[in-house]
């Protein structure tokens, strides 16, 4: 990190360590999150949720709830005319249609926590009190919580489809059978990652307002993709798109889960419209755990083929993804991603992977940071370390031999069908050995390798290295509107949304550099649908690349108008003008500063279209120490080196990488959404769902490089918000296996809780 101090000269913001403009209000307690706003006369919503994981609804009696103090109304499926609306997919495919989630259960419940009624009351307390007055008579059906059991189709979640398989994605490349036939060595394993959730610190919430006179719906509390959700809401409400606005406030974390369209989104708005009242809803934490998108519950049976000197020849096998009871808007993303990105940064000439998306009686899944990529990386990195041992090839060498080089770019990954619009993709730029070698060096592998398997002060030490790619810059487009204000300052209205990542800072930096004016003169407004005609948002690590490139377009257009305005004032042809540092100048010394043309009402629309993803890549190193008496694992050192194409803000980049890595430690060691056989979620609070705390993982070191800019965008930048989490499962588990190599322990299942690690050691001792 290169901290910059003092005044910035023009073109000095991009790449620097710039403190965030958002921080001032957050630090003073002046952020405005959803629960910080209220409206006169608002009603509060609370949701009655099914306590049965699978059953036929015989009746739902709300009469007791209606009679309770402060209760204004209770909405059930009976209040919805016609078919119950289902939530549309962001990326449809031919088979998933029947599995879409209805916004409220009418005939059947399919998971513990599915909404069956909405209470509207004068206060949140009274609304919650009335939940006990909702009496649901539900006939229990057999419960399927396991993917493979569900795939036997003995009990169907959707009778109409005759199957519990919502979709099968096939990832293919080359001739995989020939590759395996010619192999000298094949490694096969069955591995799994556990069900998790993104867990933003702010729970979900919405405030919906209906303007009956103008037929207008306003929904506050938008996040991630306000424009898509506006389109969705308008269609479901049978309103023109222009009659719906999504307003973005400060957002307490996203990580893939927050901001998707959920059943409650429709119901809250439905209540506001039906009763012509503002309706506010804030999720409580227990509800959050059972209702927001889950992710990561995946298993595999996969094999890798190698030549005798460790060159990868092919990969084939099956992935089973437990997507829960419905296909949510982005529910297929982890499934198709796991299939396409499992080969990651490695040269893999032949691939056949079938990824099965099966429905079960669990909360419907969606995305969590690095969706599918984290799972796939865990699978392949575990296989590679085992292959290295089997082949007698060094763990560094086996990776270095197979990492993609600069000469091979762009490098195609497997084709994934059915196509969701992204069937084919290719790694864009880079030499993956560069980050790898830098990571080996930074980690001091040569010295640390002496510790492998050693028992020191009662703990076994182990090390490992793993490699990853991260997809970013999701298409198709982003927009940015720029206005020159009367005082000469710039207002920038971005279609990108803020989810806590610092988008106001990043976009202001980019605009300041391209306009060559101080960053303080630029104010960024973002996310809300009333700021510009159309935008996309922040998902798939896209805001910096897509939003930033749209800002560049806007800057260029604004400077072009400035040139014309200045030329008029000076009575010259525009070509005669040179613009630098916010001032238009002539060779004769005359000049017009930007502020002087403010009366011309300069306003431009910038945009950037791009369907080609960026691929940040990198390598991560872990050094762990395992206490065989307790099964506790300490992460002694963790290093991640990535190349992000171009660094916009070294401070926020490191924040993303470090924060993601620590989230990953939670994935490896402690976080798990556990269900019992009846399909009830046994995790009800943050005392049960164990995310990392401040005392758990004190060491994460990150190094970011910008040696290979992405050719896909004018910044040369690559999306970088998710990469930090992708390699954690594989590299940390391999380090644990390395530490316990004297026992022959080979972990197959995450999380590596102390009890599971202890059990693996004890089992190995018994076997020995």
């Amino acid at each position: 990190m290169k901290p910059h101090h003092g005044a910035h000269t023009s073109n000095s913001y991009i790449g620097a360590h710039i403190e965030r403009v958002e921080d001032y209000r957050f630090l003073r307690g002046e952020g405005k999150y959803l629960d910080d706003i209220s409206r006169e006369g608002q009603w509060h919503a609370a949701f009655a949720r099914s306590q049965i994981a699978h059953g036929k609804i015989r009746s739902i009696d709300v009469s007791k709830a209606l009679a309770m103090p402060g209760v204004r109304a209770v909405i059930t499926a009976a209040d919805i005319e016609g078919d119950i609306p289902t939530i549309p997919f962001r990326r449809p495919n031919p088979t998933i249609g029947p599995y879409a989630q209805p916004i409220i259960a009418r005939d059947k419940v399919r998971y513990f926590g599915e909404p069956i009624a909405m209470i509207l009351a004068d206060s949140p307390e009274l609304a919650e009190d009335a939940l006990q007055g909702v009496v649901a008579d539900i006939e229990q059906l057999p419960v399927m919580i396991d993917c493979k059991r569900a795939m036997e189709d003995k009990s169907l979640l959707f009778d109409v489809t005759g199957s519990n398989l919502a979709s099968i994605f096939n990832a293919d490349k080359g001739d995989v059978d020939a590759a395996f036939a010619s192999a000298d060595f094949i490694i096969r394993d069955q591995l799994s990652t556990q069900r998790q959730t993104a867990l933003p610190m702010e729970t979900r919430g919405l405030l919906a307002e209906w303007d009956a006179k103008n037929g207008k719906l306003t929904v506050s509390g938008a996040a991630k993709l306000p424009f898509f959700n506006r389109t969705t809401m308008a269609a479901m409400m049978n309103l023109p798109e222009t009659a719906v606005d999504y307003i973005e406030l400060d957002v307490g974390g996203g990580f893939g889960a927050r901001g998707e369209f959920y059943p409650e989104d429709f119901l809250v708005a439905f209540g506001a419209r039906k009763f012509d009242r503002p309706v506010k809803w804030i999720e409580d934490r227990r509800e959050h755990l059972m209702a927001i998108g889950h992710s990561r519950e995946a298993s595999c049976d996969v094999e890798l083929a190698f030549s005798k000197d460790g060159v990868m020849l092919g990969m084939r096998g099956d992935l089973f993804i437990n997507i829960g009871a419905y296909v949510r808007p982005n529910g297929m993303t982890p499934v198709r991603n796991a299939a396409q990105f499992m080969s990651g940064p490695y040269r893999m000439p032949a691939i056949h992977i079938a990824a099965y998306a099966c429905v079960t009686n669990k909360t419907p899944a969606g995305t969590y940071r690095g969706p599918g990529r984290y799972e796939g990386n865990f699978f392949i990195e575990r296989l590679i370390d085992q292959a290295a041992a089997g082949l007698g090839v060094d763990r560094l060498e086996i990776r270095r031999r197979n990492l993609l080089t600069h000469e091979e770019m762009p490098y195609p990954l497997a084709t994934v069908l059915p196509s969701d619009g992204r069937a084919d993709t290719q790694c864009d730029s880079g030499d993956y050995r560069v980050c790898f070698d830098a990571c080996v060096q930074e980690a001091n592998w040569a010295e640390k390798s002496k510790l492998q398997g050693k028992l020191i002060d009662g703990r076994y030490h182990g090390i490992a290295i793993g490699c990853f790619i991260e997809g970013g810059a999701s298409g198709p487009q982003e927009n940015a509107r720029m206005v020159l204000e009367k005082n000469g300052d710039i207002s920038l209205f971005a279609g990108s949304s803020g989810i806590g990542q610092g988008i106001e800072t990043i976009l202001a930096q980019i605009a300041a550099d391209y306009l060559e004016i101080p960053m303080e003169r630029i104010t960024v407004f973002h996310g809300s649908t009333n700021l510009l005609k159309k935008g996309w948002g922040s998902y798939g690590s896209r805001a910096t690349v897509m939003g930033g490139s749209a800002v560049i377009d806007a800057c260029k257009k604004l400077l072009a108008l400035f040139r014309i305005s200045a030329a008029k004032r000076l009575g010259v042809e525009p070509e005669a003008i040179t613009i630098a540092e916010g001032v238009a100048r002539l060779a004769d010394g005359r000049s017009v500063p930007l502020a002087e043309v403010a009366s011309d009402h300069l306003e431009v629309d910038g945009s950037f279209k791009n369907q080609t993803p960026t691929y940040t890549y990198g390598s991560a190193f872990a050094h762990v120490a395992v206490d065989p008496g307790t099964g506790h694992v300490d992460v002694v050192d963790y290093v991640v080196v990535d190349d992000v194409g171009r660094i916009i803000n070294s401070m926020t980049l490191h924040g993303q990488v470090m924060g993601a890595a620590v989230q990953g430690f939670g994935s490896v060691f402690s976080e798990e959404l556990i269900y019992n056989e009846e399909g009830q979620l046994l995790v009800g609070s943050l005392a049960d769902y164990l995310i990392p705390t401040a005392s758990d993982y004190p060491v994460v070191r990150c190094v970011s490089m910008e040696q290979f800019p992405s050719p896909t965008n004018p910044l040369g930048a690559k999306g970088a918000g998710e990469g930090g989490i992708i390699p954690v499962g594989g590299v940390v588990t391999n380090a644990v296996a390395n530490a316990l190599s004297s026992f022959g322990v080979q972990p197959k299942t995450l999380p590596l809780t102390p009890s599971r690690v202890w059990e693996m050691i004890e089992d190995a001792r018994v076997r020995a």
């Binding site: 921080d23 630090l27 307690g29 933003p200 610190m201 806590g500 924040g655 705390t693 401040a694 004190p698």
Partner: protein, 160 residues
């Protein structure tokens, strides 16, 4: 029920029901929305405020229990304009991203450093291990707290 206490140096009198938590009272009645509610189970620490000098979970304390108490929230840690040394250290070290846990982190660290301005890294980690942050991974928060110690060493006793 009427509860009288002092918030950020100002005497307040609030009419609340017996079951109202101090967090809800601060947020909904007194409109001090800087205090955030992240779990209502006393686990996440986002709602931490300072009551009579101690860091307290305001979601686990009833408003009526605050009768006669001196309460400080994140708003009370903020100068009229600008940032306190602790807040400045958070900004410099990038100790926040989404900002939701930040008020609880600031109050917890303020209470700690007011009592123990020489707290070492382990002590700081131990104390803020009761405050969950999903964004940062905590490393920068610890750095910020370490950096802010100097200002507490100089001004020990004049805060609150």
């Amino acid at each position: 029920m009427t509860v009288r206490f002092e918030v950020n140096g100002k005497a307040v009198s609030v009419d609340v029901s017996a079951r109202t938590t101090l967090a809800d009272c601060l947020r909904h009645e007194l409109h001090l929305t800087g205090t955030h509610v992240g779990c209502e189970h006393g686990v996440c620490g986002a709602c931490t405020i300072i009551v009579n000098g101690d860091a307290v979970r305001s979601c686990l304390m009833l408003a009526v229990q605050a009768n006669g108490a001196k309460v400080t929230t994140v708003e009370g840690l903020s100068p009229e304009e600008g940032l306190s040394p602790l807040q400045t250290a958070f900004k410099t070290h990038h100790a926040l991203q989404c900002g939701f846990c930040t008020p609880g982190m600031l109050t917890t660290i303020h209470a700690l450093l007011s009592e123990e301005p020489n707290a070492d890294e382990d002590r700081i980690r131990d104390v803020i291990s009761g405050n969950l942050c999903r964004c940062t991974g905590y490393i920068t928060i610890v750095e910020a707290a370490m950096d802010a110690r100097a200002s507490y060493q100089h001004s020990r006793g004049d805060k609150e």
